[in-house]
């Protein structure tokens, strides 16, 4: 209780209140515009927050992060286009409801579910804070290194269908982090004798290039889509009443959101997928899923909004960001010499509590704002894509140039923008690069400091938490390989159904030799040998 009061004390300042208001309302607006998203907005605003105090800058960014998904539900429900990528599942249930003439019901339900998810996660975190404060100091260099490694493994594995590409891009991120002067021996690494590379590649430059500038290129090279939207009339509070009829679905989805948010590298997609499938399994009307089911909508929106609060746990307790947005927030901490990690929970618990309270307040602010501003936000989806691209590129410039007024930063961001544009066109993931960069830095420092106390390889995992994290890494990898094998077997069997011969290389060579030596093979071979002679005759 004392901590909560201290947290309120930290927040009771006009600039913090203004940051919460601007962040939460700005986040909703950004979320409601398809094609922008919180990552772009946070990347652009990041350098501007460096001149603010940590609590002000972080509440502003947290406001955008926590509220963008509320706004993203609006175009997802009304025009079948998710405002933010994580609202994609909302389109499955929200848009069919709109086509049935139940847009108001869908929107109010989405707001109520999002509100429940947000509040649920914050309450969980406030209750967990004392436990975290006890557990976090048990994390030494080895544990933090292993936790960062686990995060990296999970980030790669979470990109199903693109795992190898995610791995290669995560390693590219690791490499980017090593460019510049080595921090201990001060020897240059991959600087190519260029002075502008001696300080290394700035994370913000990469973030702005890969998220904001690449998105601008992508929008400007695409086409505009004509969108027609109708006004939403009536009371938007009814969703809360409907939500109260599905407490189990909401509770389970909230739990999934919190758990998946805590695990680094997993995030909203897995949370909503798991909660959605669970909701379908326990539903009395599973056939309604995909055709405008209220339970499906509650599951996806609750899980989405429970993640941001939970994602702050690994960031604050261990200094390990679990996703791109928290990785960007980490740079705000570093700029102000506030080192997130075990020490933060020990010595600055009021600061941590203040952040959670800010999340709680912003959820209330956002719901109040949405009750009155939905019709205004609906109109934002009319902004043409290419026009939006021009605006994002202009804003991207402020972000990069205001860092150090350095044109080489801008050139680097423009090149990373081109790389991001190519990755977007190829539907390859961008996030592993950012997390590779951030986690790579943490891993390098922690590995070096932990190895100085390690004599034998097994000493690395001789402490209980280190051993536990190591076991989790092994289990995660084993489960993944087993799943790959399980998926590979039916694919191989399918191949056999249309291929009579074996698909093994050695067997193929053997069959070919056998075929060339049988009677029909000999005839064919003779024909092939004869064909050039025949051509000449012709």
């Amino acid at each position: 209780m004392e901590n909560i009061l201290l947290g309120f004390d930290v927040l009771a300042r006009w600039d913090v209140v203004l940051a919460i208001l601007c962040g939460s309302i700005g986040g909703v607006i950004i979320g409601a515009i398809p094609g922008v998203g919180p990552a772009v907005a946070i990347a652009i605003l990041l350098p501007a927050t460096f001149s603010m105090e940590p609590i002000v800058g972080l509440t502003l960014l947290l406001g955008i992060y926590g509220s963008s998904m509320y706004g993203g539900a609006i175009p997802a429900i009304l025009i079948n286009t998710p405002g933010t990528p994580v609202n994609a599942l909302t389109t499955y249930e929200g848009f069919p409801m709109t086509t049935r003439g139940e847009a108001r019901r869908a929107l109010s339900l989405a707001y109520a579910a999002s509100f429940f998810g947000g509040i649920f996660s914050v309450i969980c975190l406030i209750l967990m804070a004392p436990i975290l404060a006890k557990v976090a100091p048990l994390f030494g260099s080895r544990e933090i290194f292993l936790a960062a490694l686990l995060g990296l493994v999970l980030v790669i594995i979470a990109h199903r269908g693109n795992i190898l590409a995610a791995g290669m891009l995560a390693c590219f991120g690791l490499f980017l982090n090593t460019v510049g002067l080595e921090p201990v021996k001060y020897s240059s690494r991959y600087t190519f004798d260029q002075s502008w590379l001696a300080n290394g590649i700035d994370l913000i430059v990469v973030v702005l290039g890969l998220f904001a500038i690449s998105q601008a290129y992508f929008l400007m090279s695409g086409d505009d889509v004509k969108i027609r939207v109708n006004k939403v009339r009536g009371n938007l509070f009814q969703g809360f009443r409907e939500l109260s009829r599905h407490p189990v679905v909401a509770g389970i989805s909230g739990c999934f959101g919190v758990v998946m948010g805590i695990i680094p590298g997993v995030g909203e997609f897995t949370a909503q997928f798991m909660s959605y499938t669970t909701a379908e399994r326990i539903s009395k009307r599973p056939k309604a899923f995909g055709h405008g089911s209220s339970e499906g909508l509650i599951a996806s929106e609750t899980a989405n909004n429970a993640v941001p609060g939970a994602a702050m746990i690994p960031l604050l307790a261990l200094g390990i960001p679990g996703e791109a947005l928290t990785a960007m927030m980490l740079s705000v901490f570093y700029v102000h010499n506030v080192i997130p990690g075990p020490g933060l929970f020990l010595y600055q618990l009021d600061f941590v509590t203040a952040l959670y309270l800010a999340l709680l307040i912003l959820n209330v602010v956002v719901v109040m704002f949405l009750m009155f501003a939905t019709n205004f936000l609906v109109q934002l989806v009319r902004i043409p894509n290419r026009y939006l691209g021009v605006c994002i590129l202009t804003l991207g410039f402020v972000g990069v140039y205001s860092l150090r007024n350095n044109p080489s930063d801008c050139a680097m961001a423009a090149v990373f923008g081109l790389l991001g544009y190519i990755l977007r066109r190829l539907k390859l993931p961008i996030i592993p690069i950012i997390l590779g960069m951030v986690l790579g830095g943490i891993m390098e420092v922690k590995f070096r400091s932990s190895m100085s106390r390690v004599k034998e390889p097994l000493d690395f995992i001789d402490r209980p938490i280190a051993a536990m994290i190591f076991a989790v890494i092994i289990i995660v990898l084993l489960v993944h390989f087993l799943r790959v094998m399980r998926e590979w077997k039916p694919r191989k069997e399918r191949k056999w159904t249309y291929r009579k011969s074996s698909s093994k290389f050695g067997r193929l060579l053997f069959n070919r030799r056998k075929h060339m030596l049988d009677d029909r093979g000999k005839i064919l071979r003779n024909l092939q040998l004869m064909s050039p002679a025949r051509k000449k005759e012709d």
């Binding site: 599942l89 590409a165 021996k185 997928f273 066109r425």
Partner: protein
Amino acid sequence: MAELKVLTPLKATRGQSVFALCFLGFAMILFLLLPYQTTRVEETSWHKQPGFWPMVSIIGMVVFGVLHFWRLPRRKLEKMDFKEALLWIRGIEFVLWFMIYVSLVPIVGYLPSTLVFVLPLIYRQGYRKPFHFYCGALFVFTVVIFFKVILEVKIPGAALYEFFPDAIRNFLILNF
């Protein structure tokens, strides 16, 4: 059950092999440059060597790059791959726009260069109605006031402002 295709994005096969090959080539070059771009420190254990983490990351890039290329649905380069690569090259146009904007700011000033950048780019994007240009100009003023005046981000004054009288010059440096 609703189709959850959205959670497992469809692989765009166009241009995948070009990208994978380019990435692999880049990783191989970095690998070959490893002894020249990092320093080996004598009497220092392997994990403290400056080249250790670059080596780990580059080996990861090469290994994952090879596996990614090997597991592509189609490895053979076809005409459509080159068409896709041409589209990427066309993206350089926006890089040039951006760099021209960057080089204009210290000379002309933040507000004028933003106007010079945004309005022609709106035209280039195919918008011809005066409404779009009015909105563009309004957007430029809003951005400049929000970032330069309210948030006070560090964007230096322009060389052009030196030609103005002191009072106006100071005002321009502070606000535009």
